[in-house]
Amino acid sequence: MNDSALLRLENIGKDFGPVTVLNGIDLEIASNEFLTILGPSGSGKTTILRMIGGFDQPTRGRITLNGKDLHGLPINRRPFNTVFQDYALFPHYSVRRNVAYGLVVRGLPRAVIDKRVEDTLKIVGLESYATRLPHELSGGQRQRVALARAIICEPRVILLDEPLAALDVTLRAQMCRFLKDMQRRLDVAFVFITHDQQEAIAMSDRIVVMRDGCIEQIGTPETIYASPNSRFVAGFFGENNLIDGTVVSIDVDHCLVDTAIGRLNCRFSALGLAAGRPVHVALRPEIIGISPDEGHSFTIKDVQFSGPSIMVEAADAATGAVPLRFRIQGGKTAQLPKAGDLVNLTWSVEDAFALPAGSAHG
């Protein structure tokens, strides 16, 4: 499919005893992309990382690097380095020694090691912390040491196993930018594991959404956000209104769906969508607006002030069913609806997206 793929996972499966934790994983990783594997805990995302790193062996399928099978290659001979979830820094070594480790075990001359350690510490902004021990550092600094220790080995791929999970919210946002910036500067592939969709959207070139040991969807953050191919993905990425319906007719990339609030025209991208199929119409809260004259008639149920915007809950005026949540801009001049108001809700056809009911792989 992609000739520039550096790392290729072909039909990978993994069983632990009678339990299959991964099945049919096909994945290609380009030499300089930031790929995020996103999924809830237990979805098998960490197992993928562990198999790339060589910590676990796949039960089925193969992993190739530039076309060469990695089977049987021990951990220490794989050109990948890992940033562990708890960093796994060597507690008895200073920052300098931790970072130098990969070069020391390769037997490089002292002068070369010192130079490269110094350079690497500069890259991650820790040059003034060289003699500190890990327990004398903050969480964010430890994170940087773990990254420095990995990048100094000049790996082809850096594997990051939920490295931001242990950090607080502000620091996490900061580290997100830092990691993305690092990846661009180093021009190396990052495979990033997370269960946090915000991290995934903020950093990734591509996102792999995992569910129950299978890949649910692969795509750019924009694609996955705007065109989820299953209810699971649609619900995993932020808030989404899902309206049940049935496909009436189908065009090249648009379809008509019968729902409780009438016939809706939507985009779709899933293969195998045909007339008669049950679907969900996904409407993001931010794409719904109130119109003075046209649209679907809804009754306002609740209005919640939430800082920068206002969250409104509404239901179909006629039946009281089909609850929708949407967001409108606040501000002093805004005409805010009140509970009980009758309003017309509209959205662009391009923003309504039909996805097959049930999961992508049935």
Partner: protein, 292 residues
């Protein structure tokens, strides 16, 4: 804590529970540990004249130790013996502990239990077992005879300095294994994984990660074996016979045979301070295990 200091003090002095806790945590140890030590330190400054105890402070007992080449000679020899036993025990103990720590959890537990089993056995029985192995017609000699490696039983195994050395190693090995094992087991598994991930081999992991991080256990093992072998006089008595003599035996002789308690006490004080020096040295070693 946001207590005014006065109130905190008041709490301490008033509360009867705290008084009880203090008594058991500080009072009882003082009574049963420090008081006997204090009394024999006092003894060591008294004197035995013709079988009579003279309660006058004197340094004569210490002068006797430092001016007598027999005392000094045996003292140095004993320290060398105990250092040797410590070295052998720590190295052997490390190998066993490392081997056990790398097994599956079930096997690991079984192995450690097996190696700790001697600790549940009476000390005297263990010594007789050692004698049974090392003796003139002991297991070791019989085996070597049967294998044709020797034509006469080797006498050096028993009633010699070598016999004491072997006995001390055998008797105190569990005390070396346990702290080392606990230290190795405490090292997070993912540090080894990280070492491999960064390109390190098995030797790198052992030498750069496991060994330095288990150093506290090694130090405790060394202190345990050294201090305990230093003070042991029963094993040297039982397997040393006339051919093997240790400082512990000399101390015992002063109390039990010569009935010169002040001299015995002085020699015991020398032993005590040697042991304390070993512990102090071990305390300093915590600085070695980190590298900046």
């Amino acid at each position: 804590m946001p207590y005014p200091p006065g109130q905190l003090m008041a709490n301490r002095t008033i509360s009867p529970q705290r008084w009880l806790v203090n008594f058991f945590c500080l009072g009882v140890p003082t009574l049963f540990v420090l008081a006997p030590i204090g009394s024999f330190i006092l003894y060591s400054f008294w004197q035995n004249q013709n079988g009579e105890l003279v309660r006058e402070l004197t340094l004569e007992n210490y002068q006797a130790f430092f001016s007598d080449n027999v005392f000094l000679g045996v003292f140095v020899q004993t320290i060398a013996l105990c250092l040797g036993a410590t070295l052998v025990n720590v190295v052997t103990g490390y190998a066993i502990a490392l081997f056990a720590a790398r097994r599956s959890p079930k096997l690991r537990f079984a192995m450690i239990l097996l190696f700790m089993l001697p600790l549940f056995t009476s000390y005297i029985i263990k010594i007789y077992a050692v004698r049974g192995i090392l003796g003139h017609r002991g297991v070791l000699n019989e085996l070597l005879l049967a294998a044709g490696l020797i034509d006469q039983p080797v006498t050096a195994f028993i009633f010699s300095q070598t016999a004491i050395f072997i006995a001390l190693v055998v008797l105190y090995l569990p005390f070396a294994i346990l702290p080392i094992y606990l230290a190795i087991e405490r090292i997070p598994e993912n540090l080894g994984v990280a070492s491999a991930d960064l390109g390190g081999g098995a030797f790198d992991e052992l030498w750069r990660i496991v060994l330095p991080l288990s150093m506290p256990g090694v130090v405790i093992a060394a202190v345990f074996t050294f201090v305990m072998t230093l003070g042991d006089f029963v094993a040297p008595q039982m397997v040393g016979g006339t051919g093997g003599f240790t400082f512990g035996r000399i101390v015992f002789t002063q109390f039990g045979v010569a009935l010169n308690w002040p001299l015995g006490a002085a020699l015991a004080v020398v032993l005590l301070f040697t042991a304390l020096a070993a512990v102090g040295l071990a305390g300093l070693s915590s600085r070695w295990s980190t590298a900046r």
